[in-house]
Subunit: 162 residues, 2 copies
């Protein structure tokens, strides 16, 4: 059982919006002295709640301007078929997100590519070759209005029962 108080939530909130600050600075922002602040961050890392730090790269500045949502239906929905599909897309770098969905269609992918040609190539040479797919439907994003990695955190503490 894991317990997080308001200060823990506050630390997570700070770090998920900017991980580039020093421990000294972080401790000020959460009204703690450096040592306990450092210990809490270590604890959150050991619990697996803090999952590492990453640099965010601007997709637009690298010419990665085409976000496509691909809806996929399978012929069957047994465990075998799901594993087969998930394994096939696991190492494709252009697949940013993949969800197993309820409703008519089985999977929803967000694919990020530089242009339509790259999308066509991805669909033909990778997606279409996966066994068990019955239908592929693509919707294009005209604009990415919002994208964030910061989770919506509660203002109060949390008790997480394992």
């Amino acid at each position: 059982m894991v317990k997080l108080d308001k200060v823990d939530i506050s630390i997570l909130s700070q770090l998920q919006s900017n991980a580039d600050i020093t421990n000294a600075e972080l401790s000020k922002r959460v009204n703690l002295s450096p040592t306990p602040c450092f210990n809490r961050v270590k604890r959150l890392e050991e619990l697996g709640i803090l999952n590492g730090k990453v640099a965010l790269v601007s997709a637009g500045m690298l010419g990665l301007n085409v976000n496509v949502f691909i809806h996929i239906s399978l012929e069957k929905q047994d465990e075998e078929a799901l594993k087969c599909f998930e394994g096939a897309i696991a190492d494709r770098p252009e697949v940013m997100e993949c969800y197993l969905m309820s409703g008519e269609e089985d999977y929803l992918l967000r694919v990020l590519v530089p242009d339509i040609q790259s999308l066509e190539k991805f669909i033909l040479t990778h997606l279409a070759k996966i066994h068990g797919i019955s239908n592929i439907r693509s919707s294009f994003a005209l604009k990415q209005v919002r994208y964030k990695t910061s989770l919506p955190l509660p203002e109060t503490g949390l008790t997480i029962v394992d």
Copy 2:
């Protein structure tokens, strides 16, 4: 006009998968000495290609287990209506992503909430109150199969014309 060579791409690739390494370690991985490596990172930051570092927080461990895709249609699609909608969701923390879409429906949102009750509350007290919405349709994710923040980078260099 911005030029990135293979080493720049390599730096971006390293940092977007792990931003917690020291400059000394990074320089080894990209086969550079520390100083020019440091200067390249600074340049990438100044160009706005590197957009800061963030800590990734585990949604599942905080009980944020419900990913919902909400498709939204507007009555009109003029600039006024789009601005109104985008402004209304801009400060909602549960809206992780928002795309202006081609096709039948106008917007696609990914919303992250702890449970269905929170989703209902979000739709009733926030979404439904926005003027100009003609239809709201939700699809639930049964499982997040994949989620990553690392962009698909080219193996060769890039020339970006401004």
